[in-house]
Amino acid sequence: MWHAKTSRRNALAGIASCDRGVQLSRGLWLLALLTVSATVCHARGRPSPEASSQSAAFQWTDSQWGRVLLMKDYNTRIVIFGVAVLGGASGLVGSFTLLRKRALMGDALSHASLPGIAIAFIAANWFGGDEKSLPWLLVGATASGLLGVAVILVIRNQTRLKEDAALGIVLSVFFGAGVALLGVIQQMDTGHAAGLEGFIYGKTASMRAADARLIAITSLIVIAGCLFLFKELKLLCFDEGFAGAQGFPVIALDAGLMTMVVLVTIVGLQAVGLVLMIALLVIPAAAARFWTETMWRMMLWAAVLGTGGSIVGGLVSALFPGLPSGAMIVLVCSVFFFVSMMLGTRRGVIIRLIRRMRLNRRIDRQHLLRAMYEQLEKSSGGPDHPGLAERTNRRISVSLDKLLSMRSWSRRRLSRAIERAVEDELLRIQDGACKLTQAGFTEAARLTRQHRLWEMYLIAYADVATANVDRDADKIEHVLAPEVIDQLEDLLDEQGMTIPVPQSPHGPLGTGETLGTGETLDGQGVDADGYAGSERQRDASGGPQ
């Protein structure tokens, strides 16, 4: 547990420092997760009070536990290996289907496989074959799974129903038929139908080495397929029209992707179970998306998470025959997902909140400093007044109420902004009023200048502005950097304005009215400082968020 805690602290520190140490924090997080998972397993693996009172049962459980976890048993070892490879393959294929927005196809496919399994079982029984022969059952599963997908396509293409309705119909009807057939099997004389339940919920405990080998080989084929066709499938998922125009056979590529989904799903039935197979296809890929904006990294992470979830889930199920592996895998994967959703370094909830908060703080600081500067201008008799300098600044302090009246911000928000500015030694508080420090004055002048240049820019080149404004709020400085500022300085020079901090283009400063109209101008999109401006930009262009 100590280790997990440390990792978490490190990971948080890594996230706080944003880009620095992202790699490190990722690695540590995974480690922390595995530790936590292992601890959970350990707790679960501990004997219950009743069991400990019977020492024989205790020893049995303990030795079983050690045997499984240390994988001393050849069978367990190969089963876990098979499941791990399966998890990796599911993560890769799942990433593609998720990005192709066909994730639920896998779900329909796996549910639709149940009647096939039941029919294969009955048929084998009828003809006196080995009704538990895995390849035979999987042939049945594949046939009925593909039939289900075909029915979905027929419903979609031949009726006015949409794909989601078709999915719902096929999924439930096929699964219902499968359950009914299982009922029939229970009534049959053989009564060996118990093993079939493993297909529904997953049961690594009942897997044999030969089954695991089949899983591993099939999964490795799928992994190879994903790696070799990475470029082509990426293009297919991103822009199928362009793929077609480039001469790539879109339908064949889709069929190839679907084949890989079928392979993974069918061999995964025994390990994960058909009800929850979709989890292994969707959750690792979706979780990985929070950590990266690069496709190959996303796939790598999906594979790692899928493998991790499968190993833990498979181990637990191998340990306790009563615990379905499907459920365990889903639980472990959902922990991964939740953690990724919250802490993901690219799209996680917390990093987004932090970004938002930082942005708001920066905006508040800019508003505060600019408000201070405008007050100085006012007191020194306008921007043209030569007295506006450090000397004036020394004498003037602005009360909180005055600042409060300049913008529509709450007292609390303003006080917070002031507190932070004081911490950064941009402001001083004297007798309940604010005073700019030397650094604060320089910064305020810079911001005001930049703000007014920006206003000039918007007014003079409104149509260009929309194009050149970068959407990323942090880059606003670059927008106003070298060339544009040079241009604007020329512009201002022509108009005979003072270069250090030009006069506000929307009316004379230093009068009471200006302060009053400041907000209105804000609303009109003229009085935009960099951040607000680019926010507006984002809204206006209606682009993706």
Binding site: L99, K101, F228, L229, K231, E232, K234, L235, C237, F238, D239, G241, F242, G244, A245, Q246, G247, F248, P249, V250, I251, A252, R289, T292, E293, T294, M295, R297, M298, D463, V464, T466, A467, N468, V469, D470, R471, D472, Q537, S541, G542, G543, P544
Partner: protein, 277 residues
């Protein structure tokens, strides 16, 4: 594949498809093209020859089948009838000479790829199946991004690009192919003024280098300024030819029919634009 079997009956092609008398190949020749969705025709008996080395505007109201036309030309959707010749041969044969710029809305911009990755997709056909994108391909892609003026954004994830930058990325993806004929589906839709100017610059540059570009365009005001040749489409080809002769109020009225209640406004806008120049 959606390729319908190509019938080999060149005799029925318009003569221009083989030789337009000037010796230059016809970049795109469409003859008797009909496309139907669920038995309802979207474009009907469309036929035209595009002149080589010119900028061609494809103009028509919403639902006129402009995108469908481009897709049918590239075998992306099945054709009910008709023939398409690209530089005198089938599209499949000459697809490496065609660069396609799809509509920006046709893809998910949240996709986890960078601008550079997207542009490199234009080279996938050249790179070939199962081969990785190599450094020289990335360099080519970077150059193409530079040509559209966003070389410094190459490593940005595409959702962090503005609409205009996304459109430029798509354009760069077509440019990197170094094709001879460019088919663009509304590259000017919802872009900012600077991007619009940049695209116009690129189109003119293409023309200077002897390339042909057929561009679906919505803004009637800018047609005479941007294009040399125009195809007015509304299910059928209403009119086609050099802009000066074809882009008339009469033809526009025919193309837009009752739908163009704004015609007078547009004319007014055009007049105002001219007087302001």
């Amino acid at each position: 594949m959606l390729n319908p079997p190509e019938r080999n009956d060149d005799a029925n092609l318009p003569t221009a498809a083989r030789d337009d008398g000037t010796g230059a190949e016809v970049p795109l020749s469409v003859y008797d093209l009909t496309v139907a969705y669920h038995r309802k025709p979207v474009i009907w008996d469309v036929g035209f020859d595009l002149p080589a080395g010119q900028l061609i505007g494809i103009v028509g109201p919403n639902g006129a089948g402009k995108s469908t036309l481009l897709k049918a030309v590239m075998d992306l959707i099945p054709r009910a009838s008709g023939r398409v010749r690209v530089f005198g041969d089938t599209y499949r044969e000459n697809r490496h000479r065609v660069g396609y710029v799809p509509q920006r809305e046709s893809v998910d911009w949240q996709f986890p790829v960078s601008a550079l990755d997207v542009v490199a997709m234009g080279l996938y056909d050249q790179i070939g199946w199962c081969r990785p994108v190599r450094k020289k391909h990335r360099e080519q892609a970077r150059d193409a991004l530079g040509r559209v003026g966003i070389g410094d954004l190459a490593d940005r994830q595409i959702s962090q690009l503005s609409g205009g930058q996304q459109q430029r990325t798509f354009l760069a993806r077509a440019l990197v192919q170094d094709a001879d004929l460019y088919l663009m589906d509304e590259p000017f839709a919802a872009v900012d003024a600077a991007t619009e100017r940049a695209i116009v610059e690129i189109l003119r540059d293409l023309k200077e280098r002897g390339k042909t570009a057929a561009v679906i365009h919505h803004d009637l005001q800018t047609v005479p300024e941007y294009f040399d040749h125009v195809v007015l489409l509304n299910m059928r080809v209403v009119a086609q030819g050099p802009v000066s002769q074809t882009f008339t109020q009469d033809n526009l009225q025919k193309t837009y029919g009752g739908r163009l209640t704004l015609l007078d406004e547009v004319t007014e806008a055009m007049r105002r634009r001219e007087s302001s120049l």
